[in-house]
């Protein structure tokens, strides 16, 4: 049994989290993400969960990491300026392999920029915004339905890979209301608990250690310093550091195909759009209005780790067209993986590409 709803994207995000068992939400309000928090504030207390508005985004990020170590599924939601403030603690989550979900409803940057307008300008920041080398997972919804589904999936990925997972949405998807079908129940794959006797940071075959929940008697030490498999600081041994950081990166990058989530339309097309988030909507409109088989679409729901193998599906591609609400951040990445031209179609200022913008681009790059 499913249920029909007419929800805002941000509501769907909150509901997806609740359905996935999220019971701790720490936040600091910021447009255009605030509705996620407001919905959680209403709903969590009814489910015996914790909603807490922290003093800032640094504290929000800290609080969800703390909550996660007690075994809770924990989330925060923010937008650009708050996201920038979270960077240090995001690195801490990566280093300590703390499962958590961070929602970024992207708005126009840099700086305070355009608080109420859509953008996708934080895609590279999401990948590289904290200091040092690390890897993360980022998902991009293109509909209210996907807001729900990807938020729910984010928790599974976070628990499975023990990594911060980002829902990189945008103001358009976050603020619009549309039809959504709610499943009865969302399947949850809980995090793997540490086996007694195994060291708390000793990886399994997938390079992921079992989770030593606080309060269960593991006596685990969790530190953002470089640490050994016991969890103890070990900060001047180059080998320990190199091995740790390489593992943190490899556990994600090696799982690229398993994490990947994308949609392929017209795999034989010669002109292929690659898109994620709101711009997908325009591309689909163009495909709908121009039912020619030679226009393809690769919709990325996972953007990081970048599912480069999906590009090879388009064997006849002569050009990849990448409409983004930024100056070509993911076009940059695509460029690294393909030989044919990659055309970045940037759009700044908050408006979506119109269908005719994209049709013009198709014409120009025939």
């Amino acid at each position: 049994m499913t249920k029909l709803e007419f929800w805002q994207g941000n509501t769907a995000c909150a509901e997806g989290a609740l359905a996935a068992g999220c019971r701790f939400f720490g936040c600091y309000p910021i447009t255009p993400s605030t509705e996620v928090a407001e919905h959680m504030a209403v709903k969590l207390p009814k489910k015996n969960g914790i909603f807490i508005q922290m003093e800032d985004e640094i504290a929000s990020m800290a609080a969800i990491i703390g909550a996660s170590w007690t075994g809770m599924r924990a989330m925060t939601a923010t937008s650009g300026p708050g996201f920038s403030l979270m960077m240090e603690n995001i690195g801490f989550a990566a280093m300590t392999e703390t499962p958590c979900v961070i929602v970024n409803i992207q708005r126009g940057g840099p700086s305070t920029g355009q608080p109420t307008m859509a953008a996708q300008g934080d895609m590279m920041q999401c990948r590289f915004g904290s200091h040092g080398d690390y890897s993360v997972i980022a998902l991009c919804p293109a509909s209210v339905q996907e807001m729900y589904e990807l938020t729910a999936r984010a928790f599974d990925l976070a628990d499975q890979y023990r990594v911060p997972v980002f829902l990189m949405a945008d103001e358009i998807i976050g603020h619009m209301r549309e039809r959504i079908t709610i499943p009865d129940k969302v399947a949850q794959t809980p995090r793997r608990e540490l086996e007694k006797g195994v060291l708390p940071f000793q990886p399994d075959a997938q390079l992921i250690p079992g989770f030593a929940t606080f309060g269960k008697g593991y006596g685990v030490h969790v530190t953002g310093l470089t640490h050994d498999e016991q969890g103890y600081p070990c900060t001047t041994n180059p080998k320990v550091h190199a091995a740790l950081v390489q593992r943190l990166v490899d556990k994600i990058e090696n799982a690229r195909t398993a994490i990947a989530d994308y949609d392929v339309v017209n795999p034989d097309a010669e002109q292929v759009f690659v898109a994620y988030g709101a711009p997908v909507r325009t591309v689909r409109q163009v495909l709908h209005d121009n039912p020619r088989a030679n226009i393809g679409l690769l919709q990325l729901r996972t953007v990081w780790p970048f599912p480069e193998h999906a590009l090879t599906i388009f064997k006849h591609a002569k050009v990849f067209l990448v409409p983004e609400l930024n100056l070509g951040q993911i076009a940059r990445e695509i460029d690294r993986h393909v030989k044919v031209p990659v055309v970045s179609l940037p759009k700044l200022g908050g408006d979506l590409h119109t269908p005719s913008d994209l049709v013009a681009a198709l014409e120009a790059h025939k």
């Binding site: 358009i172 619009m176 709101a278």
Partner: protein, 180 residues
């Protein structure tokens, strides 16, 4: 078929709620697709507020309104900013008690605020009067769907008032006739 409906008025008139109710009626009770959007931002505070709904039998891809074919206008400034450019083949429902301009397109003059205040005793339901009128003249959703969506959305205790307002709108529209 895709219909794009634009609502405009000033803050406090319930312009956004109107759009949400309409979208909800379409999705939940007429089994259609709908996308509702609105203007955010401090610029929207003082002046005219705007909200829009797209309704279609098919899934909706491009979610932004570019060429509305239906307008619901509840303030003079809203008319000037969001209604004046309506093409001739559009349909406009306007609150004739607040808007003194008239568009080039087909237009239904509904004195919603006045009626809400004088007949229903609460000008706050003027937007529901307008919704009733809108549905009556465009049939964009069924009246039954609209009624259910209104009941879903209004504060407890105000259901009867709001349904009365909707009915009033339907009634006013029936007699308003279209101009030009």
């Amino acid at each position: 078929m895709r219909h794009e409906i634009r609502f405009s008025g000033f803050g406090g008139q319930g312009i956004i709620l109107s759009a949400v109710i309409l979208g909800r009626a379409a999705v939940m009770y007429d089994n259609k697709h709908a996308v509702q959007t609105q203007v955010y931002g401090p610029e929207a505070r003082g002046g005219a507020s705007m909200s829009a709904v797209i309704i279609d039998e098919e899934p909706i891809f491009f979610p932004k309104v570019t060429m509305p074919d239906i307008y619901v206008i509840m303030s003079q400034e809203g008319f000037e900013k969001y209604g004046a450019g309506a093409p001739e083949d559009a349909v406009m429902v306007l609150d004739s008690s607040l808007v003194h301009s008239r568009p080039k397109c087909t237009c239904y003059e509904i004195p919603a605020t006045r009626e809400a205040k004088q007949v229903l005793g609460r000008d706050i339901v003027a937007n529901i009067v307008m919704l009733g009128a809108l549905v009556r003249v465009t049939g964009i959703v069924s009246e039954a769907a609209l009624e259910k969506a209104i009941l879903d959305s209004v504060p407890k205790g105000t259901e009867a008032l709001n349904i009365k307002a909707m009915k009033k709108g339907i009634e006013l529209a029936a007699t308003a006739g279209s101009k030009p």
